[in-house]
Symmetry: none
Subunit: 230 residues, 2 copies
DNA sequence: AGATGTCTACTTATCGGACAAGTCAATTAT
DNA sequence: ATAATTGACTTGTCCGATAAGTAGACATCT
């Protein structure tokens, strides 16, 4: 790479690095080339490489770790991990969790009803089927996983990655701490029915019905938990 | 300036330069110190100075002109251009963030209206005052911090720690470099008014009014951002 | 065998000096 | 007076050296 007049070299390097990441299929968390490797690869001094990498770091494309190397970054990942850790360590109550989920999930279901495509519909339908199948096999502990699968499929179909990652963080922290509490007597059967109602509303592209169905689902689940806890 | 363990020197330089700009009263278009001057002034090698200056350039604090020097930039103008670029390059956009915030914040404001105690009210009132004070001083870049302060105080008064930490995670996930772009022309004045409306509704323990005020606030902010981006 | 410390290679972080190249104004030649 | 030149100052890039964090291999001790 030779300097082009009037255009800063390090700016060209920035573009070259983005291109490298895309074209060579680097993804989330992968270790990138070291500064020395990049020096040879792009035939540019290490100073220019460093400037470019540093800028890619502040713009959230990569993260640089002293002594380890350059890694492809996930913008929200760091914060979400800290969030999850906090959720687990602080044993936040299941009621807090539901209060938040009641804010998010119904609205998300409404958005999903508008934006879900065929693939999303298939995914949610599969989650419903899996839940029912596992229930019929009597594998109660595994049910929570498929409950999450449905809610995550729903979140994904909103086409909002931020929302999706957020839900993933919350659900994963939930399954690690409160597995047993969620399966109160008779809850699984109700969940199967309620998920189907939500699914149908989304499939019918009816936002209001989807929102209401999701709210009812969470309200019912919360009521059952309260009842079982006395 | 001596190196501090575990903290990158160039990061410290960034803060030092921001401090220099503030404390020595540099303003829009002024010629800043040259790299050599900064080297002597901060007792740091030119490489580190360059890294820091380069980052301040991409975040819109200064502009660097070959052969001429470093100049204090117009934050708004520069950043709005860069912000557009950033939105294009990053898949998770500010719009995704707002879509999620629109799900959470209004409901949270409703809960806050019910559960906020005296201390919470004081905290929110302080956030409103701080925002207005900083605005009157013309320190635009610092406004976002006090905007977040208000929303976090609101979240905290829900007494739901999960919700609070969630909000904290989301606000911090907004890339630090581009936050001032959120303050489009005329937005600050509106924010002051809108925050007051939300605050009053919460203080009056009126959940529905609080919810509506928050929804309006976010809708308006989003509309302004869309408008400023064309 | 298992725990512990040391060595080594590789990585990023910082430094200092060198030269290229753009800018501007004072000086000089015409 | 005008044009060309020079020189000082600026950022842009390169190079080589050293510091410091990391991880795995290896040897040592218990």
């Amino acid at each position: 790479m030779k300097p082009l007049k009037t255009v800063r070299l390090s700016d060209q390097v920035i573009e070259a690095l983005k291109e490298l990441i895309d074209s060579e299929g680097f993804s989330l968390g992968d270790k990138f080339y070291s500064e020395n490797e990049l020096t040879k690869k792009l035939d540019v001094s290490r100073s220019s490489i460093r400037e470019a990498v540093r800028i890619l770091e502040v713009t959230g494309v990569v993260t640089v770790k002293h002594g380890k190397g350059i890694f492809i970054a996930d913008p929200m990942k760091k914060e979400l991990e800290a969030f999850k850790e906090w959720l687990i360590n602080n044993e936040t109550s299941i009621f807090e969790h539901f209060e938040v989920r009641l804010m998010i999930d119904p609205k998300a279901a409404g958005v999903a009803a508008v934006k879900a495509d065929h693939e999303d519909i298939m995914h949610m339908e599969k989650a419903c089927r899996d839940f029912e199948a596992v229930y019929n096999e009597g594998k109660t502990p595994a049910l929570i996983k498929h409950d999450e699968e449905f809610h995550l499929a729903m979140a994904k179909s909103t086409k909002n990655r931020t929302l999706y990652y957020l839900m993933k963080t919350m659900t994963s922290s939930l399954s690690e701490g409160w597995v047993t509490s969620l399966h109160t007597p008779g809850r699984s059967e109700k969940t199967i029915k309620e998920h189907k109602v939500i699914f149908q509303a989304i499939k019918n592209k009816d936002p209001k019905a989807a929102e209401k169905a999701m709210r009812d689902h969470l309200d019912n689940a919360l009521a059952d938990i309260r009842a079982s806890l006395g």
